[in-house]
């Protein structure tokens, strides 16, 4: 039996038996430290002799650049935008993630379909429809959900980059200013993520501690995933 499976309808021309690597997802809202931990995990895994591919959203060769522009221009409608993201994701899945898994890499991905679905739901897309559309995605070996409380998130964002238009959900006209909008938008996203915990088997990682503490926790969990042999239950 193959290690991997699909959520819904399968991708054409994929032999699951060939996929030998590991697919590990880091999820969480903006500013929670996902990219920092991906960097640290990659370093640590490579030091231990594993080949690692790290990948993230809107970086596909096919649509990445144009998607970024579309986001800046705000001219596309909600459904169009959701599908544009899905196209970008499919390109990365087929051309980066699957080949790497075939070659036995450990794939660390900064967000996966969950963020895409949460953002689309908040913007009015039908959750049932999104689940079907993303049915072609591979089920990951592990999904680590970096969770913080909204107050901690605000502090972190202020200390780093400040509020950003999209991370504050300003396109949704939810508040008077960026702070108010950010809090409402991120709370809403957190609620959407929390709904997914059980459905998709997220492992919750408390991300409110120091970088060292959180990394220690993540490393132990990743070690377990990498040590697994054969197929999963």
């Amino acid at each position: 039996m193959a290690r991997f499976g699909f959520f819904g309808e399968a991708l054409p021309d994929i032999d699951l038996e060939e996929l030998k690597g590991r697919l590990i997802v880091l999820e969480g809202t903006d500013g929670v430290g996902r990219s920092t931990h991906i960097g640290l995990l990659k370093e640590w895994l490579e030091n231990n002799g594993h080949a690692v591919l790290d990948t993230g959203m809107t970086r596909s060769a096919l649509a990445g650049k144009r998607l970024k522009q579309a986001k800046e221009g705000h001219t596309l409608g909600g459904i169009t935008m959701s599908l544009f993201y899905a196209t970008d994701f499919a390109d990365r899945l087929e051309n980066e993630i699957i080949p790497a898994l075939r070659a036995g890499f450990i794939v660390l991905t900064d967000r996966y379909i969950y963020s895409l679905m949460a953002r689309a739901v908040v913007r009015g897309a039908d959750p049932e429809w999104l689940r079907e559309v993303y049915g072609f995605a591979l089920k990951p070996d592990a999904i680590f959900y970096l969770r913080v409380k909204i107050d901690d998130l605000v502090t972190r964002v202020l200390q780093s980059t400040g509020f950003d238009y999209w991370e504050s959900g300003m396109d949704l006209h939810m508040g008077e200013d960026m702070y108010e909008s950010f809090v409402r938008y991120q709370k809403w996203l957190l609620a959407e993520f929390d709904k997914m915990v059980e459905n998709y088997g997220f492992q919750i990682v408390d991300a409110s501690g120091s970088v060292e503490e959180v990394f220690e926790d993540l490393r132990t969990r990743v070690e377990r995933v990498v040590a697994q042999n054969g197929h999963r239950s």
Partner: protein, 238 residues
């Protein structure tokens, strides 16, 4: 989703393989509807340049898989729906579309995409008032195409499927499979079949008859009211 919405306008779409004559029939229908005084909106594939750009680039560089081919076209179609189909339908116009979701269902399934998945993908599409399917034997269509048209393109010929190294032969094999998919959809979606081997005039007469019935279902369209107002505004005769 949109399929369930009740929009005051009417949506007529034409489907069929290349060379079935569907575009000619749609053009003739448009002329007639306009002469009858309807507000007609022709939904062209002029979607967002950003999405178009990705599609073009993907095709040119042959970097599309069955899946990304399907998704980028769905993205394009969503843009068309949100900008060029829903608004005129809300305004009560008669919207005409050359090719619709059935083209995607046929083409993507032939490329190996799951039939269920692609149908779910397009769940946001507006259900057409009538979808005409111009049924044409492959030989007839091939003769029409090879006669008048420029070179067949790579994806149009289904060259990515590796059916044949010869462009024309690949096109023929690909279109034969597309026809099979269309035939399956006739019952599934209640496509209205037009025998496209008959004369242009005969086909058009049948299309107009069917469209007339579908338009009669509407008591008074907004267009009608708008026309009434326009006639009120005419200078009175002395």
């Amino acid at each position: 989703m949109y399929g369930k919405h009740r929009l005051p306008g009417r949506l007529f779409v034409v489907e069929g393989i290349d060379g079935s004559g569907k575009s000619t029939q749609l053009m003739l229908l448009k002329k007639w509807l306009e002469s009858e005084g309807y507000v007609v909106y022709f939904s062209e594939w002029n979607s967002s340049p950003l999405v178009q750009d990705v599609t073009k680039r993907g095709k040119k560089k042959k970097m599309l898989t069955a899946m990304t081919f399907s998704l980028i076209h769905a993205t394009d179609f969503a843009d068309r729906t949100e900008h060029h189909i829903i608004p005129p339908l809300k305004a009560g116009a008669v919207v005409l579309a050359d090719r619709y979701i059935y083209t995607a269902f046929a083409r993507d399934v032939v490329r190996g995409v799951s039939p269920k998945w692609v149908r779910d993908l397009y769940a946001f599409a507006v259900k057409p008032t009538i979808a005409f399917y111009f049924r044409t034997p492959l030989d007839v269509a091939m003769r029409r195409i090879l006669g008048g048209r420029d070179a067949i393109k790579y994806y149009e010929a289904g060259m990515d499927l590796g059916l044949s190294d010869d462009l024309e032969e690949s096109f023929r094999l690909f279109q034969a499979r597309i026809i099979e998919e269309y035939e399956k959809m006739v019952d599934e979606f209640g496509l209205v079949v037009i025998d496209a081997t008959r004369s242009i005039e005969e086909q058009q007469a049948e299309v107009r008859r069917i469209v007339t019935e579908a338009l009669m279902g509407t008591k008074k369209t907004r267009i009608r009211r708008w026309l009434d107002l326009a006639s009120l505004a005419k200078p009175s005769q002395i």
